[in-house]
Symmetry: C3
């Protein structure tokens, strides 16, 4: 089982918990910013941001009930992040770059772990890439819908889906390689962490240098009668 | 099977149907209020308000297809509530306190029945509390998204999630007690109804006396360099 | 297996692919119109419009992972439609009536195929009608939520849900007839195509002659103390 590579990987598990804490705080912060700052709304937005993506993935995979409502470690971490947001929101707001960095870490970690979970359930590579991207993206998307915004992933032209897409593809390749005996468990663990770093780099460089997605072709002439 | 306690409980079943009728009407009324008052929109909003929460719970539990599209009694009740809304919307609007009361009854009944269904499927207490709250809350949340509003559960600071949370916890305790032989079927049935009354009381008192959730700590000084 | 009737029906399969291409383009176009015109947003909105309904149906049926992320033909078609939207959006915009027509074809085809899939999974007629309508409607609904609009199906009073509803009911009747030996495979295939034509006619005539759903009864007098 290749998923062993992920679960026995202390660095990876550490990144995941850090990401859940960070996503939970950023979800809570979004609620506070919009003025929906009672404790329940903060908790709900934190939980959905951090665990909504995995919940969506598990529903698609039929692995029910989903970890977002069964894994005590994950749930307690999101509740903790909500409590932190209630008290420390001015500090969190100031740590803008730190948050962007940890958010990008989460983007990478969940792309990798979501893709690997899907592959471990025997899906095709394409389906695994979809599910990896859902894991990384769907939580923030639902949070934005809850708060009445067009999802950031649609609104913002900076690269967010692209790095997670790259991460998912690389994960499928590494998994396939491991299945064909090209990597042992140790190298696979290192490659998984490397993929996260690649995702973080693409994401952070996109924000830092204002790299945006190309858009629909601007044309005025219409080639139709 | 403890769920027998719920299903053989005529009072409880009565409350559930009353709540579905009331939630269906209030969903239809929301659509009319926003000006989306064609019959299909009224029916859709009524159905999603009344049965959306249970649908979400069943998807999470893997009990598919969900009762929201299979139970003829439930579906006919929501359709009936839509028809009532089409004709009697001015009356429904006037019955504000009656509606608040029946709505609170539904909040309690669905928290209890959702939690018990999850427990009957063998979930942990924490998962059952999540699913009980989803059952009680998710329908109204989706209706608000459909109508372009930030969900009431996020927008409104009055206690709505809290009473359902309390109801779910009490349900888990009663269920555990019954499993350890502390209650017979008869007392469990009475305790279930009692939990609904507790939920209704918290909810109604919160609206009557304007009790609201505490919010994020208001601070201006930031303890960071 | 009656579903054989659908899968061995080249006309039907052709309609479905045409509809997915058209829905994908119209989803991409909606994103461009709202100014969210980076390639990823266009692709996402195209994919969710074209395949979101079937995804929802499969989640309800427990047929996981859903075809929307496993069927390579479908997914490639939506990606293709996204690419077309990126380059040819001014042309697509001009083809208003062609798009309305193909959109109506999709409405009919997905109502029929969604209902038949549900029946093939052994659901009741009522559940199959629900799932047929979800297949036909849910994709556009989620696209509108993503783009910050109240779903067209709620906002617009023209007949859209009604023709799909009629199509689903007729599909259940034809299926039942085939099970009782009233039709052979050949006539069933022809009847399926006929149902699509009926749906298209109702839809297109509703738009052409501005037929709208009746609404909530307008009353000012309240019959309550």
């Amino acid at each position: 089982m290749q998923q062993v590579a992920l679960e026995s990987n202390a660095v990876f598990v550490g990144i995941e918990y850090l990401a859940i804490l960070c996503w939970g705080m950023s979800g809570g912060l979004s609620a506070i910013k919009k003025g929906y700052d009672d404790i329940f709304s903060i908790m709900l937005c934190g939980w959905v941001t951090a665990l909504g993506g995995g919940l969506f993935r598990d529903v698609m995979l039929g692995d029910l009930p989903p970890v977002g409502i069964t894994d005590k470690g994950y749930v307690l971490t999101t509740l903790l992040s909500g409590v932190i947001a209630v008290f420390a929101h001015p500090e969190i707001k100031k740590l803008k770059w730190t948050m962007t960095l940890i958010d990008a870490l989460g983007l990478g970690a969940f792309a990798v772990s979501g893709t690997e979970k899907a592959l471990a359930f025997g899906t095709s590579g394409m389906t695994a890439i979809f599910l990896g991207m859902f894991t990384a993206i769907a939580g923030g998307l639902v949070r934005d819908l809850f708060l009445g915004d067009v999802p950031m992933i649609i609104r913002d032209r900076h690269l967010y889906a692209v790095p997670s897409f790259v991460g998912c593809i690389l994960t499928v390749l590494v998994w396939r390689g491991a299945q064909h005996g090209m990597f042992d468990l140790r190298s696979e663990m290192m490659l998984d962490v490397l993929i996260v770093i690649v995702v973080v780099l693409i994401r952070v460089l996109s924000v830092a240098f204002n790299v945006t997605m190309p858009g629909a072709m601007r044309r005025t002439h219409v080639y139709l009668p």
